[in-house]
Symmetry: C2
Subunit: 155 residues, 2 copies
Protein backbone atom coordinates (compact mmCIF):
# COMPACT_ATOMS: atom_id res chain seq x y z
CA UNK A 1 0.00 0.00 0.00
CA UNK A 2 0.94 3.66 -0.25
CA UNK A 3 1.46 5.46 3.05
CA UNK A 4 0.77 9.21 3.08
CA UNK A 5 2.08 11.15 6.03
CA UNK A 6 3.53 14.45 7.21
CA UNK A 7 6.13 14.95 9.89
CA UNK A 8 6.77 17.77 12.38
CA UNK A 9 9.13 18.78 15.14
CA UNK A 10 7.48 19.15 18.55
CA UNK A 11 7.73 22.34 20.64
CA UNK A 12 6.59 21.17 24.07
CA UNK A 13 5.63 18.09 26.07
CA UNK A 14 2.00 19.25 26.37
CA UNK A 15 0.93 16.41 24.08
CA UNK A 16 1.68 13.84 26.82
CA UNK A 17 -1.30 14.80 28.98
CA UNK A 18 -3.54 14.54 25.91
CA UNK A 19 -2.27 11.14 24.79
CA UNK A 20 -4.45 8.05 25.14
CA UNK A 21 -1.87 5.36 24.45
CA UNK A 22 1.86 4.88 24.92
CA UNK A 23 4.11 2.13 23.53
CA UNK A 24 7.80 1.32 23.76
CA UNK A 25 9.41 0.88 20.34
CA UNK A 26 12.80 -0.67 19.57
CA UNK A 27 13.80 -0.88 15.93
CA UNK A 28 16.74 -1.45 13.63
CA UNK A 29 17.42 -1.47 9.89
CA UNK A 30 18.44 -4.41 7.74
CA UNK A 31 18.72 -1.82 4.98
CA UNK A 32 18.71 1.92 5.57
CA UNK A 33 19.05 2.95 1.91
CA UNK A 34 16.18 5.37 1.33
CA UNK A 35 15.24 3.62 -1.95
CA UNK A 36 14.25 0.55 0.04
CA UNK A 37 14.44 0.48 3.82
CA UNK A 38 13.94 -2.83 5.62
CA UNK A 39 13.04 -2.27 9.26
CA UNK A 40 12.52 -4.74 12.11
CA UNK A 41 10.57 -3.42 15.07
CA UNK A 42 9.37 -4.45 18.50
CA UNK A 43 6.36 -2.37 19.54
CA UNK A 44 4.96 -3.29 22.93
CA UNK A 45 4.52 -7.07 22.76
CA UNK A 46 4.44 -7.29 18.97
CA UNK A 47 7.08 -7.76 16.30
CA UNK A 48 7.09 -6.50 12.71
CA UNK A 49 9.17 -6.49 9.55
CA UNK A 50 8.50 -3.50 7.30
CA UNK A 51 9.74 -2.57 3.84
CA UNK A 52 9.39 1.01 2.59
CA UNK A 53 10.10 2.29 -0.91
CA UNK A 54 11.37 5.66 -2.04
CA UNK A 55 9.34 8.77 -1.17
CA UNK A 56 7.74 10.97 -3.79
CA UNK A 57 9.42 14.35 -4.30
CA UNK A 58 7.40 16.11 -1.59
CA UNK A 59 8.27 13.33 0.86
CA UNK A 60 4.60 12.80 1.73
CA UNK A 61 3.92 9.45 0.10
CA UNK A 62 5.76 6.15 0.09
CA UNK A 63 5.12 2.47 -0.61
CA UNK A 64 4.94 0.48 2.61
CA UNK A 65 4.65 -3.24 3.26
CA UNK A 66 4.45 -4.64 6.79
CA UNK A 67 4.11 -8.11 8.29
CA UNK A 68 3.69 -9.06 11.92
CA UNK A 69 6.27 -11.63 12.98
CA UNK A 70 7.24 -13.36 16.20
CA UNK A 71 8.87 -11.03 18.72
CA UNK A 72 11.68 -13.54 19.38
CA UNK A 73 12.46 -13.59 15.67
CA UNK A 74 12.67 -9.79 15.66
CA UNK A 75 15.18 -9.97 18.50
CA UNK A 76 17.38 -12.27 16.41
CA UNK A 77 17.04 -10.03 13.36
CA UNK A 78 17.89 -6.89 15.35
CA UNK A 79 21.34 -8.41 15.97
CA UNK A 80 21.96 -8.37 12.22
CA UNK A 81 21.02 -4.73 11.77
CA UNK A 82 23.26 -2.00 10.42
CA UNK A 83 24.34 0.87 12.64
CA UNK A 84 22.48 1.75 15.83
CA UNK A 85 19.22 0.48 17.23
CA UNK A 86 16.57 3.14 17.90
CA UNK A 87 14.63 3.23 21.17
CA UNK A 88 11.66 5.53 21.50
CA UNK A 89 8.33 5.91 23.24
CA UNK A 90 5.32 6.51 21.01
CA UNK A 91 2.30 8.49 22.23
CA UNK A 92 -0.97 8.48 20.31
CA UNK A 93 -2.70 11.86 20.52
CA UNK A 94 -6.09 12.63 19.02
CA UNK A 95 -6.64 16.21 17.90
CA UNK A 96 -9.76 17.42 16.07
CA UNK A 97 -10.45 14.24 14.15
CA UNK A 98 -6.88 13.17 13.43
CA UNK A 99 -4.37 11.09 15.37
CA UNK A 100 -0.78 12.22 15.80
CA UNK A 101 1.91 9.66 16.55
CA UNK A 102 4.48 11.44 18.71
CA UNK A 103 7.85 9.75 19.27
CA UNK A 104 10.14 10.69 22.15
CA UNK A 105 13.56 9.26 21.33
CA UNK A 106 15.90 7.80 23.94
CA UNK A 107 19.55 6.74 24.27
CA UNK A 108 21.81 8.42 21.74
CA UNK A 109 18.80 10.26 20.27
CA UNK A 110 17.70 11.82 23.58
CA UNK A 111 16.23 15.28 23.01
CA UNK A 112 14.59 14.44 19.67
CA UNK A 113 10.78 14.43 19.52
CA UNK A 114 8.90 13.95 16.25
CA UNK A 115 5.20 13.92 15.42
CA UNK A 116 3.63 12.23 12.40
CA UNK A 117 0.13 12.37 11.03
CA UNK A 118 -1.16 9.80 8.55
CA UNK A 119 -3.47 11.14 5.86
CA UNK A 120 -5.78 9.51 3.36
CA UNK A 121 -4.65 11.77 0.52
CA UNK A 122 -1.94 14.35 -0.01
CA UNK A 123 -4.29 17.31 0.00
CA UNK A 124 -6.16 16.40 3.16
CA UNK A 125 -6.16 19.32 5.63
CA UNK A 126 -5.90 19.05 9.42
CA UNK A 127 -5.73 21.30 12.45
CA UNK A 128 -2.37 21.80 14.15
CA UNK A 129 -2.18 21.65 17.96
CA UNK A 130 -0.11 24.30 19.82
CA UNK A 131 2.66 21.84 20.69
CA UNK A 132 3.35 21.10 17.00
CA UNK A 133 6.51 22.73 15.62
CA UNK A 134 8.15 23.17 12.22
CA UNK A 135 7.21 20.75 9.45
CA UNK A 136 10.06 18.43 8.40
CA UNK A 137 8.22 16.19 5.91
CA UNK A 138 10.68 14.94 3.29
CA UNK A 139 13.75 16.13 5.24
CA UNK A 140 15.88 13.00 5.09
CA UNK A 141 17.64 13.86 8.39
CA UNK A 142 14.42 13.07 10.23
CA UNK A 143 13.99 9.63 8.65
CA UNK A 144 14.48 7.03 11.36
CA UNK A 145 16.75 5.18 8.90
CA UNK A 146 19.02 8.28 8.83
CA UNK A 147 18.90 8.68 12.61
CA UNK A 148 19.98 5.04 13.00
CA UNK A 149 23.21 5.93 11.15
CA UNK A 150 23.59 9.46 12.54
CA UNK A 151 22.32 9.61 16.11
CA UNK A 152 20.83 12.94 17.20
CA UNK A 153 23.49 13.51 19.89
CA UNK A 154 26.11 13.81 17.08
CA UNK A 155 24.19 16.41 15.06
CA UNK B 1 18.13 -20.95 12.80
CA UNK B 2 21.60 -21.74 11.50
CA UNK B 3 21.75 -23.12 7.97
CA UNK B 4 24.69 -25.41 7.15
CA UNK B 5 25.32 -26.08 3.49
CA UNK B 6 27.98 -26.73 0.86
CA UNK B 7 27.91 -25.57 -2.73
CA UNK B 8 29.32 -27.05 -5.94
CA UNK B 9 29.58 -26.38 -9.63
CA UNK B 10 27.85 -28.95 -11.84
CA UNK B 11 29.66 -30.83 -14.65
CA UNK B 12 26.75 -32.26 -16.64
CA UNK B 13 22.98 -32.28 -16.96
CA UNK B 14 22.75 -35.94 -15.90
CA UNK B 15 21.09 -34.84 -12.65
CA UNK B 16 17.91 -33.86 -14.50
CA UNK B 17 16.85 -37.45 -15.23
CA UNK B 18 17.41 -38.29 -11.55
CA UNK B 19 15.44 -35.34 -10.18
CA UNK B 20 12.04 -35.86 -8.54
CA UNK B 21 10.85 -32.27 -8.37
CA UNK B 22 11.31 -29.07 -10.33
CA UNK B 23 10.30 -25.49 -9.38
CA UNK B 24 10.61 -22.10 -11.04
CA UNK B 25 12.27 -19.53 -8.78
CA UNK B 26 12.31 -15.75 -9.24
CA UNK B 27 14.12 -13.72 -6.59
CA UNK B 28 15.54 -10.31 -5.86
CA UNK B 29 17.45 -8.62 -3.04
CA UNK B 30 16.28 -5.77 -0.83
CA UNK B 31 19.79 -5.88 0.59
CA UNK B 32 22.66 -7.78 -1.03
CA UNK B 33 25.31 -6.86 1.56
CA UNK B 34 26.76 -10.21 2.65
CA UNK B 35 26.53 -9.21 6.34
CA UNK B 36 22.75 -9.25 6.05
CA UNK B 37 21.00 -10.18 2.83
CA UNK B 38 17.25 -9.63 2.54
CA UNK B 39 15.78 -11.74 -0.26
CA UNK B 40 12.25 -11.91 -1.66
CA UNK B 41 11.43 -15.03 -3.63
CA UNK B 42 8.64 -16.59 -5.63
CA UNK B 43 9.04 -20.38 -5.74
CA UNK B 44 6.29 -22.12 -7.67
CA UNK B 45 3.07 -20.73 -6.17
CA UNK B 46 4.59 -19.57 -2.91
CA UNK B 47 6.20 -16.33 -1.76
CA UNK B 48 8.91 -15.83 0.86
CA UNK B 49 10.98 -13.15 2.53
CA UNK B 50 14.34 -14.39 3.84
CA UNK B 51 17.06 -12.73 5.89
CA UNK B 52 20.53 -14.28 6.03
CA UNK B 53 23.42 -13.23 8.23
CA UNK B 54 27.13 -13.38 7.58
CA UNK B 55 28.76 -16.75 6.88
CA UNK B 56 31.33 -18.31 9.15
CA UNK B 57 34.91 -18.29 7.79
CA UNK B 58 34.55 -21.59 5.92
CA UNK B 59 31.34 -20.33 4.30
CA UNK B 60 29.42 -23.43 5.43
CA UNK B 61 27.17 -21.98 8.12
CA UNK B 62 24.93 -18.94 8.27
CA UNK B 63 21.97 -17.58 10.23
CA UNK B 64 18.78 -17.79 8.20
CA UNK B 65 15.27 -16.54 8.91
CA UNK B 66 12.43 -17.11 6.46
CA UNK B 67 8.73 -16.27 6.41
CA UNK B 68 6.14 -17.28 3.85
CA UNK B 69 4.25 -14.25 2.55
CA UNK B 70 1.60 -13.61 -0.07
CA UNK B 71 2.87 -14.06 -3.62
CA UNK B 72 1.28 -10.76 -4.71
CA UNK B 73 3.16 -8.97 -1.97
CA UNK B 74 6.42 -10.52 -3.17
CA UNK B 75 5.70 -9.20 -6.66
CA UNK B 76 5.38 -5.68 -5.24
CA UNK B 77 8.56 -6.08 -3.20
CA UNK B 78 10.52 -7.38 -6.20
CA UNK B 79 9.95 -3.98 -7.85
CA UNK B 80 11.91 -2.36 -5.00
CA UNK B 81 14.90 -4.68 -5.30
CA UNK B 82 18.45 -3.62 -6.02
CA UNK B 83 20.15 -4.71 -9.22
CA UNK B 84 18.88 -7.62 -11.30
CA UNK B 85 16.22 -10.19 -10.58
CA UNK B 86 17.38 -13.82 -10.73
CA UNK B 87 15.39 -16.48 -12.59
CA UNK B 88 16.30 -20.11 -12.16
CA UNK B 89 14.84 -23.60 -12.21
CA UNK B 90 15.50 -25.72 -9.15
CA UNK B 91 15.71 -29.52 -9.37
CA UNK B 92 15.65 -31.70 -6.25
CA UNK B 93 17.87 -34.75 -6.65
CA UNK B 94 18.22 -37.50 -4.04
CA UNK B 95 21.58 -39.27 -3.92
CA UNK B 96 22.51 -41.87 -1.31
CA UNK B 97 20.52 -40.44 1.56
CA UNK B 98 20.99 -36.73 0.83
CA UNK B 99 19.10 -34.26 -1.34
CA UNK B 100 20.89 -31.89 -3.69
CA UNK B 101 19.18 -28.67 -4.80
CA UNK B 102 20.44 -28.00 -8.30
CA UNK B 103 19.75 -24.57 -9.82
CA UNK B 104 19.88 -23.94 -13.56
CA UNK B 105 20.06 -20.16 -14.02
CA UNK B 106 18.30 -18.31 -16.84
CA UNK B 107 18.34 -14.88 -18.46
CA UNK B 108 21.56 -13.00 -17.93
CA UNK B 109 22.91 -15.91 -15.85
CA UNK B 110 22.38 -18.54 -18.56
CA UNK B 111 25.12 -21.17 -18.44
CA UNK B 112 25.47 -21.17 -14.66
CA UNK B 113 24.43 -24.32 -12.77
CA UNK B 114 24.98 -24.70 -9.03
CA UNK B 115 24.25 -27.54 -6.61
CA UNK B 116 23.76 -27.19 -2.87
CA UNK B 117 23.47 -29.77 -0.15
CA UNK B 118 22.07 -28.94 3.27
CA UNK B 119 23.77 -30.69 6.18
CA UNK B 120 22.87 -31.14 9.83
CA UNK B 121 26.41 -30.37 11.01
CA UNK B 122 29.61 -29.11 9.43
CA UNK B 123 31.41 -32.44 9.63
CA UNK B 124 28.63 -34.53 8.11
CA UNK B 125 29.96 -36.59 5.19
CA UNK B 126 28.05 -37.37 1.99
CA UNK B 127 28.61 -39.17 -1.30
CA UNK B 128 29.21 -37.09 -4.41
CA UNK B 129 27.41 -38.00 -7.63
CA UNK B 130 29.37 -38.06 -10.94
CA UNK B 131 27.73 -34.87 -12.20
CA UNK B 132 29.00 -32.83 -9.22
CA UNK B 133 31.93 -30.51 -10.02
CA UNK B 134 34.33 -28.32 -8.07
CA UNK B 135 33.31 -27.18 -4.59
CA UNK B 136 32.67 -23.41 -4.34
CA UNK B 137 31.40 -23.19 -0.73
CA UNK B 138 32.26 -19.77 0.68
CA UNK B 139 33.26 -18.32 -2.71
CA UNK B 140 31.34 -15.05 -2.63
CA UNK B 141 31.04 -14.96 -6.46
CA UNK B 142 28.60 -17.84 -6.28
CA UNK B 143 26.32 -16.19 -3.73
CA UNK B 144 23.02 -15.37 -5.44
CA UNK B 145 23.28 -11.89 -3.89
CA UNK B 146 26.58 -11.38 -5.79
CA UNK B 147 25.15 -12.81 -9.01
CA UNK B 148 22.22 -10.35 -8.76
CA UNK B 149 24.76 -7.52 -8.96
CA UNK B 150 27.19 -9.21 -11.36
CA UNK B 151 25.29 -11.43 -13.81
CA UNK B 152 27.16 -14.51 -15.02
CA UNK B 153 27.15 -13.35 -18.67
CA UNK B 154 29.48 -10.46 -17.62
CA UNK B 155 32.04 -12.66 -15.82
Amino acid sequence: MIEIERKFLVKSNDFISKSYKKSKITQGYLNSNSNRTVRVRIKGNHGYITVKGKSNLAGTSRFEWEKEIDINEVEQLIHLCEDFVIDKTRYLVDFKGHTFEVDIFHGNNEGLILAEIELTNENETFDQPDWLGQEVTGDIRYYNSYIAKNPFKNW
